[in-house]
Symmetry: C2
Amino acid sequence: MMNSSEELSLPQKLSKDIISYILEENLQPGDKLPNETIISEKLNAGRSSVREAMKLLASRNIVKIRQGSGTYVASKPGMVEDPLGLTFIGDKKKLVHDLLQVRALLEPSIAAMAATNADDNDIRRIRKLCEEIEVLVKENKDHTQKDIEFHTAIALSSKNVVVPRLIPVINSSIPLFVETTGNTLLKETIETHREITEAIAAHDAMRAQDAMYLHIVYNRKTIAINEEKEND
Amino acid sequence: MMNSSEELSLPQKLSKDIISYILEENLQPGDKLPNETIISEKLNAGRSSVREAMKLLASRNIVKIRQGSGTYVASKPGMVEDPLGLTFIGDKKKLVHDLLQVRALLEPSIAAMAATNADDNDIRRIRKLCEEIEVLVKENKDHTQKDIEFHTAIALSSKNVVVPRLIPVINSSIPLFVETTGNTLLKETIETHREITEAIAAHDAMRAQDAMYLHIVYNRKTIAINEEKEND
């Protein structure tokens, strides 16, 4: 997957040095980096190579370049859109299936962790999203975005630092799923979302885990039914 | 996490167009992209902007630019080093702990999937890596790289298309872990790796799952013991 170091271009090498600098100086999201001239001197490199390196880091969402203002550490450094490159898996049917398999391994336990660790703000946010999804479903409107936010809020409530980094994996299956099933899972979505929400609000880990597992099982069943219909 | 589309620079927009092109034309890893002139015409953009866009795609490991030869689809398109940006999580002790929590959710089931789906080649590869690690451990040499390859081989044997994309998450904890425990887990590593290998070879899913779970429990215990020592 990775280039060995002798294959790296100068800007690529410099981008690694800048990452080390960010870590050594313990720069936080939103912190400003020193200007190009200072970085060039520190790294003993030309300004145009440093500029190239910064563009590479910006494309990996490690820094954010603001024209006329300067270069800052990004808000979630290193998190890119579709970090696992799932866009490039050709067989979408298998991708939906395999993503649900991975979601079934992760999300019930994440819901349990959220039930244990959610604070009042987390619970308020999860409940609000649950209600918003319900309104959208009843008005026959697309709820994909809110659905992603609902699962994201639960993952953040787990207080595990890795889990919110896995959210994109989990989330990426939702639009695919809505597309695959043609949004037919509406009653079950409302009921299982409500049950997940109330279990987390009650800090009942086992109930949250069961509710999330049921949610994923419904998803799986709906996909299986839709596939059978297609094959008829 | 994401830029909204109105904030995108021209090369960023073009890089999205090139991704769409790769998907529409169903280009596979290793396939050559049309040259700059043709792409410029197709996307109705200047050649220097297209060149910038290609550099962005190369930094995200979507394409590979070979000087004097052309631009190719990367071997695992879209998979970057440290895709979840874990490098930028400051509290390494919590990161090790939370990664092991996620590994405990994923890896036992992945081992079970590997036991079910591994073919003879997979089993040969896993067994070879298991033996190589044993030799390294007995010679008191660093086995980090081979350990990563061992867990990678198991994930590939699962035949789930998402799981091998999660390998970097799993793997990233191994060097951290070896660093944190000072490599004290040698006897247990040999024994649990052997048990995992034999269970997969016997296509015994439950035994593979239990063996992997035990492996992760040992890791967790060792970390807890080391932390107690540090606090003394």
